[in-house]
């Protein structure tokens, strides 16, 4: 029975003068797969660390099922935050064995499924006796994924689980994730910046930009609010009155605008001589968050 609603209210986190999370509110209801999307440096890992009691924060409250998460064993036992294993620890290489991580997971996660872990070890072709520094980036990701899945924690969070994985393994990951999700009532939160291939797997998506969650909605509801409108520049401008224009691109007299609006407003586009096309989730993210420069 998954009753753990993970909630943050008024979360503020700064690293020195860098105010990473600003008055951030988020509610993650149980039993869904969420995608957390943000640019590099937007603070995804920081946010997830704060939500799971692994990171400190200046102000705000984080609760799971109504109970505070910080230093609370009962709440923490329901959460698994699986992040990328460090290649080096304090300057020297990480000489922990995979097996050591698995044993630790077995100790700390009350719902740990050893059989499932062993099956995944076999499928991923991982040797528990191997040391972390001897693994490739993809293999380290696979260990992260293994721990997350086998933890059977009611709330499971994966931070960039597919980094370093080739396309075949990425597809396999989404498959495994969906299989496990279908079997259980677990909540999954996956942070990624490889958006489009994961979009179909998410039920709801959260965009983290400039310290706040700027969008939190079911994927199709969000995507359905956007269109590309293109044609003769003046015609496009006429068609777009009453819609929010996010960006425009001109090629000679041809203008393409990315717009956002409600169902009715978008329906009116058909009465103009313009081409209307949908945006996919990746396009939406870039339209909303791709404006300024970049990676911090």
């Amino acid at each position: 029975m998954n009753e753990c609603t993970l909630r943050a209210a008024g979360l503020n986190k700064s690293y020195g003068t860098n105010h990473v999370l600003r008055d951030l509110d988020v509610v993650l209801e149980p039993g869904k797969i969420y995608g957390l999307i943000g640019r590099n440096g937007a603070g995804k890992t920081t946010l997830l660390g704060c939500l799971t009691g692994q990171n400190t924060f200046q102000s705000g409250e984080v609760t799971c099922g109504g109970e505070k998460v910080w230093e609370n064993r009962r709440a923490l036992e329901r959460i698994c935050f699986s992040r990328e294993l460090p290649e080096t620890v304090m300057g020297s290489r990480n000489s922990q064995k995979i097996g050591h991580y698995l044993n630790a997971a077995m100790v700390f996660f009350p719902n740990w499924d050893q059989k499932y872990a062993e099956a995944l070890l076999k499928e991923f072709n991982l040797d528990p006796k191997k040391k972390i520094y001897a693994l490739s980036r993809g293999q380290r990701s696979m260990v992260t994924i293994l721990i997350a899945l086998a933890s059977k924690a009611p709330v499971t969070i994966l931070d960039e689980p597919v980094s370093g994985l080739d396309v075949v393994m990425r597809e396999r990951f989404y498959q495994l994730l969906l299989e496990e999700f279908s079997r259980s009532e677990r909540t999954f939160v996956v942070s990624t910046h490889i958006i489009e291939e994961a979009a179909a797997v998410f039920e709801e998506v959260l965009f983290l930009d400039r310290g706040q969650i700027i969008e939190h909605a079911p994927v199709d509801e969000l995507v359905d609010q956007f269109r590309y409108v293109s044609g003769l520049a003046e015609e496009v401008d006429r068609a777009c009155t009453g819609l929010t224009v996010l960006s425009t691109q001109d090629m000679g007299r041809r203008r393409t605008a990315a717009v956002r609006g409600g169902e009715k407003a978008l329906a009116e586009l058909s009465s103009y001589d313009v081409d209307v096309a949908p945006l996919n989730l990746q396009n939406v993210f870039v339209a909303l968050c791709g404006q300024e420069h970049p990676q911090a």
Binding site: G49, E71, R73, C80, P86, V89, M90, F108
Partner: protein, 211 residues
């Protein structure tokens, strides 16, 4: 704290086992008369009282970096980790203390000829407290290192000071008439350092984040 204990005991027991092996080797060496001559291992024999402190120190320093992060990343609370580490540290100090006493008196009980005790029996009661102090200082050093590399090294220097107190203490305690208050001073110094480092450990663990 149960889970934290289960997690850390895997790493703590080598401290005891290594000492056991060391003791075994030294006893064998003594039994075969090695300590009578100035053999290679003789110096190591006389380092006996320092060895548990040394092993503990090395372990505590390195575990502060790797194991705390691992435990935290799997949902262990900082309180539980701190508590478990303290409990296991005290336990290993006590166990090694008993072993030290054992190894100290073994040659006598077995009637081995000409084996000098590696330290005066009078030093025995002082061992656990000072060894623990070395452990606390090393643990604090390991934790500090995660945030400030330089402070970590400085703190490890403090641990070294405590270790030296132990070394000298073991030598001078017998000749109290000669050294006067020195043993008491050395004892107090190491205990104070240990307590200060304990405070550092508490403070560092409280705000620890996964690295």
């Amino acid at each position: 704290m149960k889970n934290a204990l289960r997690f850390l005991i895997r790493s703590h027991w080598p401290v005891v086992v290594s000492f056991l092996i060391y003791g075994g080797v030294m006893m064998a060496y003594a039994a075969t008369g090695g300590t009578r001559s100035d053999g290679i291992l003789t110096t190591y024999y006389y380092l006996f009282p320092l060895v548990p402190a040394l092993f503990l120190s090395i372990f505590q320093f390195s575990s502060g970096t790797a194991y705390l992060s691992m435990a935290l990343s799997m949902g262990c609370t900082r309180r539980a980790y701190f508590g478990a580490n303290q409990v296991l540290m005290v336990l290993s100090v006590l166990v090694n203390w008993v072993l030290t006493a054992l190894f100290l008196f073994l040659p006598q009980w077995l009637g081995w000829q000409g084996v000098e005790p590696f330290m005066p029996a009078a030093a025995l009661p002082l061992l656990p407290l000072v060894t623990l102090a070395v452990g606390e200082c090393s643990s604090a050093a390991g934790l500090l290192r995660r945030e400030h590399a330089v402070l970590g090294v400085v703190c490890y220097g403090v641990a070294f000071v405590a270790l030296m107190c132990l070394a000298v203490l073991v030598q001078v305690v017998k000749q109290v008439w000669l050294w006067g208050d020195l043993p008491a001073i050395l004892l107090s110094v190491s205990v104070i350092l240990g307590v200060l480092c304990l405070v550092v450990e508490v403070q560092q663990t409280r705000q620890a984040v996964v690295r």
